[in-house]
């Protein structure tokens, strides 16, 4: 082009050589982004409060719930030694003495911290009786330690003194600091430090005393110089003395330690094995079940809650179905899905004609009738549900009328509440507006000329409806159905009030686990499955009908 201006030449060059440039030479994309940045910032500022609100009240709780359904740190947290000791156990017969020993120290500490009942409750979900077993053990384990504590005290009263132990095990520098602190008891207590070499000479004692010291200093905030150790430390001392040789020791309290060593080596020293101690507390400890359960649930994350939610359980041999009489959740899920479908279907059946009439009336009349549709929203959900109780119960309005007419004899009044029928009736009524509104909004956008066209082409009223009107109202049915179905699948109050035992939903079970049985993990797993089912249905709906076709108004 010979007559081209420089401008057009330049832009032609740009196109050929690289990205489009703005007038000042910056790339056009960058220039555009800069121009729109202010707008974007303003827009995000406007949605920020809602975003934050949703994040805090919706996303975070859901994430927490999802996490709780697999989280299982309580076992490994409360019984770290036992978890370790059971690692190599094959699950056959009883575990070795090491496991009993570890369980002794773990439960002893847990009992002091009052954590053992929580662990018992957790394991009770998986093995009936675990809760009482742990409660009993918390009290009973003292007996084992006291055997040794008494004998050491009989040998030397000083074994009962706090000072003996801090001198024997404590680092001298620490001890000086601790004494200084004890004079005023102000500020932070210096953390207990083991004396060098003690963890080799008295490994178990050192460990147990350190545990004791940590507990006293950090949780009880007691002065370690005045607290005599609990009996688990005496037990540990016995173990160390029985296993090691004290003759070379010449640190503080060497005489006491050597005397105690001699005592332990003597024939008269009374001992009790951990296994016997546990057996004495409860015979269940010498059956493999509890140990298997502890081992199965020792990992930090477990599929146990989810398996429980689908009536399965974790066993050493793998996943298997629960016994017949413990299966409940699959049935509840099925019932929830089935009843939600029935409710959705009855809403379509009842709502379609109403929406049709509304959309074909002049807008004045339609608006008036729309108020009637929305009227239920103005009364409390509880009131509406309770009203159904009044209507449907055996001495209720409907039965009275039926008896009065003579259709039903007074002796056999219909049972219409506290069963599935009651739930379906009440929930259909409550969810009906959610069906009518989207259907109405779709139907009112269908121009009457389609119906006229169909009729002018020779279609009868029915053909016109079925082949022309109905297909175009399907998006409304779809939107209403998905709304009603998702609402009803998680409905709680109405089934709780009118559902009785046969008409309750999975949500009632979730509520039970949240507020009564306190098995939050299971509640979370059930909720997660429910969420997954809803998302799955949504996805399926999107694939089949297309979510773009859903119009809510």
């Amino acid at each position: 082009m010979t007559t081209g201006t420089p401008m057009t030449d330049a832009s032609a060059e740009d196109k050929a050589s690289g990205p489009m440039l703005a007038a000042d030479g910056t790339p056009l994309k960058k220039s555009l982004a800069r121009a729109l940045r202010m707008e974007k910032i303003r827009a995000s500022m406007l949605i920020a409060p809602l975003l934050l609100f949703v994040l805090v009240t919706f996303i975070a709780p859901i994430a927490d719930m999802l996490f709780r359904s697999v989280e299982n740190e309580i076992v490994s947290d409360t019984m770290p030694l036992t978890t370790e000791a059971l690692e190599d156990w094959d699950g056959e017969g009883l575990p070795g003495d090491a496991a009993f020993e570890a369980a002794y120290y773990d439960i002893f500490l847990a009992a002091e911290q009052k954590n053992h009942t929580r662990l018992g409750t957790r394991l009770n979900y998986e093995m009936t009786g675990a809760s009482s077993l742990f409660r009993k053990s918390g009290r009973g384990l003292d007996d084992i330690g006291e055997v040794y504590q008494d004998q050491f005290e009989d040998l030397n009263k000083d074994w009962d003194e706090a000072a003996t132990w801090v001198e024997l095990l404590g680092d001298p520098d620490w001890l000086a600091e601790q004494k200084e602190w004890a004079a005023s008891e102000e500020g932070r207590q210096p953390r207990f430090k083991l004396r060098e070499g003690m963890d080799e000479l008295l490994p178990v004692t050192s460990r147990e005393y350190a545990t004791f010291a940590r507990y006293q200093q950090r949780e009880e905030r007691k002065n370690l110089l005045e607290e005599e150790p609990w009996s688990a430390v005496h037990t540990a001392l016995y173990e160390d003395l029985a296993a090691g040789d004290m003759s070379s020791y010449n640190g503080p309290r060497a005489d006491m330690l050597k005397a105690a060593d001699e005592l332990v080596a003597g024939a008269d020293f009374e001992t009790v094995t951990f296994r016997d101690g546990f057996e004495e507390i409860d015979r269940d400890w010498v059956k493999p079940e509890i140990w298997r359960t502890i081992k199965l649930y020792s990992p930090n994350y477990t599929s146990g809650y989810f398996l429980n939610s689908v009536d399965m359980q974790l066993t050493p041999d793998g996943v298997e179905a629960r016994p017949e009489n413990q299966r409940i959740y699959i049935m509840l899920f099925q019932r929830t899905l089935f009843m939600s479908m029935v409710i959705t279907f009855s809403c379509i059946l009842l709502g379609y004609p109403v929406a049709y009439i509304l959309s074909n009336l002049p807008s004045r009349t339609a608006n008036l009738l729309m108020i009637l549709v929305l009227l239920p929203f103005w009364t409390s959900l509880l009131v509406r549900t309770s009203a159904w109780k009044v209507m449907l119960q055996q001495q209720g309005v409907i039965n009275d009328v039926l008896v009065w007419i003579g259709l039903v004899s007074d002796g056999d009044r219909l049972v219409m509440i506290n069963n599935q029928f009651g739930t379906i009736v009440a929930m259909t009524h409550i969810l009906l507006p959610f069906m009518i509104l989207p259907m109405y909004s779709v139907m009112s956008t269908i121009p009457p000329s389609y119906v006229r066209a169909a009729k002018s082409l020779g279609a009868t009223n029915w053909t016109t409806f079925w082949r022309v009107y109905f297909p175009q109202s399907v998006p409304g049915i779809g939107a209403g159905s998905i709304l009603v179905f998702i609402l009803s699948i998680g409905y709680y109050i109405t089934p709780e009030i009118v559902g009785g035992t046969t008409g309750t939903f999975i949500s009632n079970r979730i509520a039970y686990h949240i507020s009564s049985s306190l098995n939050w993990g299971l509640a979370a797993a059930l909720g997660t499955i429910l969420l997954a089912v809803v998302l799955l249905l949504y996805w399926a709906y999107d694939r089949i009908v297309g979510i773009d076709n859903v119009k809510l108004g």
Partner: protein
């Protein structure tokens, strides 16, 4: 003039009235008949009752009074789907959930026509509107003009003898509209179908129809072929509504045969053809088409000339449109052809205008 006798009429409205609310009549005493094969247009401003008439004929509205006959049989009580009348709607009303072919097949299916015959007819109808390749598309994938053709094909595919069209070209742009006007008329004549066409566009009415019924206020103001309607409007509404028109108001001073003399409100005297005036002393509205007005007239002695002042000169390419002030009317328009020797008037110029008395019609003053 076609025979309007009721007996051989294909479609006939007899004393039809329609009221929606029981208080006012939307259609007042309508009498109309059209023979087979005619292309009749109902033309009128919105609210004039033309669409209501069409809907009554189609069966979507019932006449409050009177009878509508199709081929001699009263159809008042026949539901729309049994009337066998093809209809094209303003927004096409193509079923959005069906393909083009399914749309066309629909009227054949409800008539229980066999599959192979159906396909054949659909194909023929699509070819007729030159849309043979679009059978598999959805209406939403077509342009406005294409949808219009499909709507036309659908109304014709079941071979109705009467087709109604309710402002079918309203949504199209000007160029396409003109093309479709031609296509629709040639198709209607080719197939020999009777057509009732509703529009508010007078150009459309004039170019397409055998006869035009001009509606206003629930009545037919005039029913005539397009040329007659334009050149010989029977009343001032028709004169105003069809084409551009200049009016001058005055009083009839003298009537003698096909001549009358009117004294305009400004005092000037002009000659006119008495159309809608009955006696001397009546107020009248005189109507002259802009293109019949001559500048600097040399029309002979018998005609009057008037003084005029140029208000505005508009260059429109093929013609010049000049707005004048004549006898107190500032909206008096004349049109002159863009000839090499044509004078271009300037605002403020004083000129003389005149016309043949035959072109100047004395109509009612309403």
């Amino acid at each position: 003039m076609p025979d309007t006798g009721v007996n051989d009429a294909f479609v006939a409205f007899e004393r039809v009235q329609k009221s929606y609310d029981g208080e006012t009549l939307v259609v007042k005493d309508l009498n109309l008949s059209l023979p087979k094969g005619e292309f009749l247009t109902m033309l009128g401003p919105s609210g004039s009752g033309k669409t209501t008439c069409l809907m009554m004929l189609a069966g979507f509205e019932t006449a409050t009074h009177g009878e509508i006959k199709l081929d001699g049989v009263s159809i008042n009580n026949i539901p729309p789907h049994k009337r066998g009348i093809g209809m094209v709607f303003q927004n096409y009303a193509l079923f959005p959930h069906m393909t083009v072919a399914e749309n066309l097949s629909f009227p054949l299916e409800v008539r229980k026509i066999g599959k192979s015959e159906r396909e054949q007819k659909v194909k023929r109808a699509l070819d007729m509107v030159e849309m043979g390749a679009f059978g598999g598309r959805r209406p939403a994938q077509l342009s406005g003009g294409q949808q219009q053709r499909i709507a036309l094909a659908r109304a014709l595919v079941f071979e109705p003898e009467l087709v109604l069209m309710d402002e079918p070209l309203g949504a199209l742009d000007k160029q396409l509209r003109e093309k479709m006007q031609f296509e629709i008329t040639s198709l209607a004549h080719q197939l020999g179908i009777t057509t009732v066409y509703v529009t508010h566009d007078q150009t459309e009415a004039l170019t397409m129809s055998d006869r035009v019924a001009v509606f206003n206020d629930g009545r037919i103001q005039q029913l005539a072929p397009p040329d007659e309607l334009y050149e010989a409007p029977q009343n001032s509404f028709v004169a105003q509504f069809i084409g551009e028109n200049n009016t001058l108001e005055g009083v009839v001073k003298e009537i003698s045969g096909d001549r009358c003399t009117v004294q305009l409100d400004g005092g000037e005297m002009i000659d006119a053809r008495p159309v809608n005036v009955s006696k001397v002393g009546d107020r009248t509205r005189v109507s002259i088409r802009p293109e019949r007005v001559e500048l600097d007239p040399q029309l002979g002695d018998e005609s009057h000339t008037l003084k005029a002042t140029v208000k505005e000169f508009i260059y429109m390419g093929d013609i010049f449109r000049t707005r004048l002030s004549v006898a107190g009317n500032d909206e008096f328009v004349i049109k002159t052809r863009n000839r090499p020797d044509q004078r271009r008037l300037r605002p403020g110029e004083e000129i003389t205008i005149g016309w043949l008395p035959e072109d100047c019609r004395a109509l009612d003053a309403d």
